[in-house]
């Protein structure tokens, strides 16, 4: 029994030093006004009150949720559609070509992708608006209007990340027992019925993983938005991560930034717990 503790001690020490301690320090920092030169003044819940009472921080909070909902929905849905499309009989060359084509954006740096897309989206000089003009369609302010900016970022995010979920879901689809599918076909089950009653239950654990994984990533989105819009126009696309960095390293409000990061951590935790509870209803054990 004692020996067991000795074996896990290194892991516990490392976890305490590099995970628990920084989290604890961040939580303590969030109750202070901290200036790196003059030290910390205890301010109690002032930073949290500021976050919950400033219209700007609340707008940024809802932006983050909105982005996460749209990005997760479309990333997983499009990933699943592509996985289903590529999980069928076709020449091997074509199969690998398409898989590679859809997966390639995943391995490209997010910053580079964002720079390229910002050129695509440019109102006056962008490729997309150029072709729209050829079709007689007026200029679309992709990144310079709050009506379009979030959608534009989601489109880019889906283009970049959906391939990752596609690959995972292809692997899951290949785990669906063929005899059961064949039996269902012989019994006259429609493609939709086969998908909803056989495929979906079988891949539901993987689907659940994709949703949780995508949610955590989307709630922490930073570089793609930073490069595409910088959080603008106004605050319409600003995420909590960008806000946190602005406050910590732009305004030197380290205590307040720590409070924002604690709020982010709680948000991710709550959403993950909701997903886990919800999963009991639809994820096959």
């Amino acid at each position: 029994m004692q020996a067991g503790y000795v074996f896990v001690l290194p892991s516990i020490v490392l976890y305490a030093a590099f995970v628990l301690a920084p989290v604890a320090i961040t939580i303590i920092l969030s109750f202070t006004y901290y200036d790196i030169s003059f030290g910390a003044d205890w301010v109690g819940f002032e930073n949290y009150v500021r976050f919950l009472t400033e219209p700007r921080s609340l707008e940024i909070f809802w932006n983050t949720l909105r982005f996460a909902f749209l990005a997760v929905s479309f990333n997983v849905a499009v990933g699943l559609i592509l996985a289903l499309a590529l999980n069928r009989a076709m020449p091997t060359v074509l199969l690998y070509f398409f898989r590679l084509a859809f997966f390639l954006p995943v391995i490209i740096s997010a910053a580079f992708v964002a720079v390229v897309w910002s050129y695509f989206y440019s109102v006056d000089f962008g490729v997309i608006n150029y072709y729209l003009a050829q079709l007689g369609i007026g200029q679309v302010p992709w990144l310079s209007s709050s009506k379009f900016a979030m959608t534009s970022i989601v489109i880019m995010d889906v283009w970049k990340n959906t391939g990752f979920f596609m690959i995972i879901l292809i692997a899951a689809l290949q785990g669906v027992p063929k005899p059961i599918m064949d039996a269902a076909s012989m019994d006259g089950a429609s493609p939709w019925r086969r998908f909803s009653r056989i495929t979906l239950p079988f891949i539901s654990p993987v689907l659940f993983f994709c949703i949780v994984f995508a949610s955590i990533g989307a709630l922490q989105v930073f570089e793609s938005i930073m490069i595409l819009t910088g959080g603008g126009p106004g605050d319409s696309t600003r995420s909590l991560s960008i806000y946190l960095v602005d406050e910590a390293f732009g305004s030197f409000e380290l205590g307040y930034a720590a409070a924002v990061s604690v709020i982010m951590m709680i948000l991710v935790l709550i959403i993950t717990i909701i997903q886990i509870i919800g999963s009991r209803r639809w994820v096959r054990e």
């Binding site: 200036d35 790196i36 000089f125 709050s146």
Partner: protein, 417 residues
């Protein structure tokens, strides 16, 4: 033996006193910023310093300043906290108050008075003062000028802008220079409204105002002239349609490609203009009540924790020597602090009106750089972009920006008072 030889040569007048060597030994740490070219000129300056101080080791650190000046300030504060600060820092105007408010640097007034800095325009020292003391010595600077495509001006039959041209004259010229195709789509813009704080400042200054008060201690957004300036810029984009919507990627390249006739930039675009073979020249900022513009600069400061201040001063002297200044002028990217280094044939050969950079120096104002500069910049630009993209009306944006800036200035008083 070396010293004896040097002494004999000196006595004989065969070498300049500059080569006299010092016995002093020690180590200095220098933090500079910029890329390869900046580093090279710094290394050359250090090599010259080591000719005079062969026993002094100089460690050079380089910060790319990739995350902006606020980020740089954070790193420097952390260095001080950890006791890992450098002895000499090369920094920028945007950081001066943040550092000076925290007593991180030594006042240099006596050093400046006793050193060879007569070649620097007194205006540059005025701009670096904090609470009456000078903590930094300017190295190179940039003022925002109107950069224009001479070929497009000639093609449209427009004369060279005068030194007293007005906003209205500027707008009329921008309209003349804007071309549209049969469908009404713009194929050539007359001007590009800048999408960065520094680039926008001349428009406010030339109207006798600024988003922050003259002493950089409070918001000035409620000054009606601020709204008037914003309205003028908005009209250039949305009413006269002579400018693309600010903030789009690659707009500077459109200027180099001849698709935009005028942009507001500093000397830093000169090298790109030469590389693009662009027939470019510069003009002063168009005026509403004056033709004033903005200036930003790099500057050297000596840490208040430097162990050997005299050696640090000697290093700064070399870093600001005529040779270093000429080298930096030749690199392009900024105007040398020493006037003599900005009068070399190399510096003056392009653009044709290069002397204008120095001529306009007396009517420049430092970019507002309070201790909360980064936040001021972010708040102002957020609302400016909201105006320019029709997300907010000018009165609403001005009111909200004023509220946020006021809160920011209240918070920073914890540090500056």
């Amino acid at each position: 033996m070396k010293k004896l030889l040097a002494a004999l040569l000196l006595t004989a007048g065969l070498v300049s006193p500059a080569l006299a060597q010092s016995d002093e030994a020690g180590k200095l740490r220098l933090m500079t910023f910029g890329g390869e070219a900046q580093l090279k000129s710094t290394q050359d300056a250090v090599a010259r310093f080591n000719q005079k101080y062969p026993n002094v080791e100089v460690e050079i650190g380089v910060d790319a300043v990739g995350g902006g000046w606020g980020d740089f300030v954070s790193r420097v504060l952390q260095q001080y906290n950890a006791g890992e600060q450098y002895d000499v820092y090369h920094t920028a105007v945007e950081t001066l108050q943040s550092f000076a408010a925290r007593d991180l640097f030594l006042p240099l007034d006596d050093f400046i008075a006793s050193g060879d800095f007569s070649d620097f325009d007194a205006k540059l020292f005025d701009l670096t003062k904090y609470k009456g003391k000078t903590y930094f010595i300017p190295s190179t600077w940039n003022n925002i000028m109107t950069n224009y495509n001479r070929a497009l001006f000639a093609e449209a039959g427009i004369e060279t802008p005068s030194k007293t041209w007005t906003w209205d004259e500027f707008a009329a010229i921008a309209e003349k220079l804007t071309k549209r195709d049969a469908n009404g789509n713009v194929t050539q813009f007359g001007y590009e409204v800048p999408a960065f704080f520094f680039g926008l400042m001349p428009w406010f200054l030339s109207n006798g105002t600024s988003p922050v008060t003259a002493d950089w201690s409070a918001s000035n957004m409620k000054d009606p002239k601020v709204a008037e300036t914003l309205q003028f810029l908005y009209d250039l984009v949305h009413v006269k349609k002579v400018s693309p919507v600010p903030g789009q990627e690659g707009v500077e390249n459109q200027f180099f490609a001849g698709q935009i006739a005028m942009i507001s930039r500093g000397h830093w675009i000169v090298q790109n203009a030469i590389a693009s073979k662009l027939d470019m020249d510069i003009a002063v900022q168009p005026g509403k009540v004056n033709n004033d513009t903005v200036i930003g600069f790099g500057a050297y400061g000596i840490s208040s924790k430097a162990k050997n201040v005299k050696l640090a001063e000697a290093l700064v002297t070399e870093l600001l020597s005529y040779e270093t200044q000429v080298a930096e002028g030749d690199l392009g990217g900024a105007v040398p602090g020493r006037k003599s280094a900005a009068e070399t044939e190399n510096f003056l050969k392009f653009p044709p009106s290069a002397p204008l950079y120095y001529e306009t120096l007396p009517t420049t104002h430092a970019v507002p750089s309070p201790a909360n500069f980064q936040e001021v910049d972010q708040i102002f630009m957020r609302y400016f972009n909201a105006i320019m993209t029709d997300e907010m009306t000018i009165p609403d944006a001005v009111a909200k920006a004023d509220q946020e800036l006021t809160r920011s200035f209240e918070r920073i008083k914890r540090v500056t008072q």
